[in-house]
């Protein structure tokens, strides 16, 4: 199973927010606890909707919670320069 090229700070954010449990976070965003586990272990990249829901729970932006972990496409790299 190939890991998606998107990393996240979910685990750290949970602990920073009163040691929130995976179950509590799962209920807050409407997914199963197993999906939170999959996200935290980097095996699953969420939809934009779920990413925004998660960011909403922690009161931060999607960019603060998720980051690109793979190689940038060449065109994107050129644009950023």
């Amino acid at each position: 199973m190939t890991a998606p090229p998107i990393g996240n700070h979910l685990r750290r954010m949970r602990f920073d927010h009163g040691q929130m449990t995976q179950q509590t976070l799962a209920q807050a965003v409407g997914v199963t606890r197993q999906t939170i586990v999959a996200l935290e272990t980097g095996r699953y990249a969420p939809s934009l909707e779920l990413a925004m829901r998660l960011a909403g729970v922690f009161g931060c932006g999607v960019d603060d919670l998720f980051f690109w972990n793979g190689t940038q496409p060449e065109s994107a790299t050129r644009k950023n320069q």
């Binding site: 199973m1 685990r11 997914v31 606890r33 999906t35 272990t41 939809s47």
Partner: protein, 204 residues
Amino acid sequence: MLKVIGFSAAALGLGWVLAWISINYGVSTGWIGAAVLLGWAVAARLRWERLKQHGADPSGPERVVWHRLASAAIGCGHMLTSLAHPSIDLHVGSGNSLATDSWTILAAIVVSALVFHGGDRERDERDRGFAAAGLRVSYTTLIVELLILLFFLGFAPPDLRAPFSHFFIANLLIALIVISALAQYLAQLIAYARDAQAAAGGEQ
């Protein structure tokens, strides 16, 4: 993954054994299948409740797939064994218990589904992804099966097609649908198993 394949094989084998006993010894075995299915449903629920304490339990949607796989595999094993004897009349009250056995197993599937009821069964986007992969496998399986059947019905020599009455073909079509469903649940659970395997080194 081996667990999923082994479980399917065991459930298929159970369905085969039940029909085989029924055909060869004239004993009604549907109630045995029903008892095994119900017993397994209760045991699985209790086991998953224990695993929940360690956070290692399957999600609600995955539990539902396990139940569907068990049901489809037992039903499939039973149906295919019955259909392998085209000379046997599969109507209810035709001197054998195969039809009533099938209906008894079907009733047990409904009751055992209720045993699973109670957990959160709503799929989230990850479950929907696995379900979509399962549906693709199911669709492909069904199309391949139908193509084989169509060619057989159209081009096989008449003596080979002789036992294929409308009633037999109707039962065969049900069996093909059950096989494609079985392929779907198998693919879904393999996807869950691969995911869990990848998480084995992950953190809680």
